[in-house]
């Protein structure tokens, strides 16, 4: 299979011919999705740059939850092409995922944090920052 006849995704090939402009609801959904992507960029940068576990957990716990919720609700709006019964059902299902993640994600972060604290993983203090050995690592 050469690259010029890639048809991995059939819907894409169809949409290339029929590019329809999004409805206002879909436009709002796209905006929400991009906002979620912005927060996920923050999470990804924080996972690399932050020095110890608790700060990384700060980045991951908040940014991950918020970005996932924003993206999912954005896609929930995007998938609402018309206001029929089926698309409302779909929207509520996706909102169910959002609610689920809104509850479970902070809880799992909390459980991990508590496990780390009980396991003597101490937060980084100013003393650790002053130590050159800790900085190097």
């Amino acid at each position: 299979m050469s690259l010029d006849q890639t048809m991995f995704i059939p819907v894409l090939a169809e949409s290339l011919q029929t590019t329809s402009s999004p409805t206002p609801l879909q436009f709002f959904g796209i905006l929400l999705g991009l906002l979620g992507l912005f927060f996920f960029v923050g999470t990804a940068v924080g996972m690399i740059r932050f020095p110890d576990f608790y700060t990384r957990m700060h980045a991951a716990g908040k940014g991950d939850t918020l970005s996932t919720m924003l993206m999912l609700s954005g896609f929930g709006l995007v998938s609402m092409e018309d206001l029929s019964m089926g698309s409302w059902l779909l929207f509520f299902k996706i909102m169910g995922v959002v609610l689920f993640i809104f509850i479970t994600c902070p809880t799992s972060s909390h459980a991990l944090m508590r496990a780390a604290f009980e396991d003597d993983e101490m937060p980084m203090t100013e003393k650790d920052l002053k130590k050159p050995s800790a900085k190097k690592k």
Partner: protein, 294 residues
């Protein structure tokens, strides 16, 4: 470099998915062969299984197909809910119809999905069984490192070996000294290192020299506490690891993934006891208020 017909083209572009499965499979195979830890072997088995599952599912893919659930227009039940305004004629045919052969290519092959669904479930079941066996091995030998388990089995065989030595000595003596001294048996055996457990001699003699695997595991529990001091006394037998060392090795899989922390000051345990113990006491003093009513 990527022209048609070259090996690189074939591997990296045309059949990239097979390369991925093969690499995954090899990772699993290597883990199963080379790792000493039994749990790591099981992880390797899981990776192997995942590679095969991915391979099977990829076989069912058709270009431009969707998942093997009927679309609303092919589904007779869905046709009630979906308003078909475009052609009223199809609305009359509520009965099931055979999907056209040109539409068959629009659905992915359901057969590999079914096979892999059952394979995943059976994989979970066998993984549970394997973990139970690992737990049993750990209870019997105190370790799940393969080489240590083998060393312990060897040591047990050594403990039961002196009777065999006695036999061979007996036979050699009888051949040498004209078989006139059968009562020399207890003497020889008393001089042999098996004097610690004289009552074990008839047992081991009655049995064949090669004990069955079942007997080994059943005896493992009773022997292992005795074997430990023996090993610490005489370092020549079996492996030279002290019980304390083997204990840390046994607990490795639980915390092995954790490397040494960067700055582990010695004051930390004190901090931990200060910080965590009062809280624990406070929670422990309460009669579990959060457990739901029974």
């Amino acid at each position: 470099m990527f022209e048609d017909g070259t090996i690189i083209n074939e591997l990296l572009i045309e059949r990239l998915n097979y390369l991925i499965y093969v690499v995954l499979l090899l990772i699993g195979l290597h883990a199963m062969i080379a790792k000493k830890n039994l749990i790591k072997k099981l992880i390797g088995m899981s990776i192997f299984q995942t590679a095969i599952i991915l391979f099977y599912v990829s076989i069912g893919v058709k270009e431009g197909s969707t998942i093997p659930v009927y679309l609303p227009e092919h589904d007779l039940h869905g046709s009630h809910s979906v308003p078909s305004d475009t052609n009223e004629t199809s609305h009359f045919e509520h009965g099931p119809f055979i999907v056209d052969s040109s539409l068959v290519r629009g659905y992915a092959n359901p057969l590999p999905h079914v096979l892999m669904l059952t394979a995943i479930v059976v994989g979970v079941a066998t993984l549970g069984l394997a973990l139970a066996l690992c737990l049993r091995i750990y209870q019997g030998y105190g370790t799940i490192e393969e080489d240590e388990v083998l060393a312990k089995i060897e040591r047990q065989e050594m403990l039961s070996k002196p009777s065999i030595v006695v036999k061979s000595v007996d036979s050699s003596k009888t051949t040498n000294s004209k078989a006139e001294k059968p009562p020399s048996k207890p003497k020889v055996s008393s001089s042999s290192p098996s004097t610690k457990r004289p009552q074990a001699i008839p047992k081991t003699k009655a049995k064949a020299a090669s004990t069955s695997a079942k007997a080994k595991t059943s005896r493992a529990k009773s022997v292992s506490p005795k074997a430990k001091p023996a090993a610490s006394k005489s370092t020549t037998t079996g492996s030279k690891k002290s019980p304390a060392k083997s204990k840390t090795a046994a607990s490795k899989p639980t915390t092995k993934a954790k490397p040494k922390p960067k700055v582990k000051s010695k004051a930390k345990p004190a901090v931990r006891t200060k910080s965590s113990s009062p809280a624990k006491k406070a929670t422990a003093s309460k009669p579990k208020p959060r457990t739901p009513k029974k």
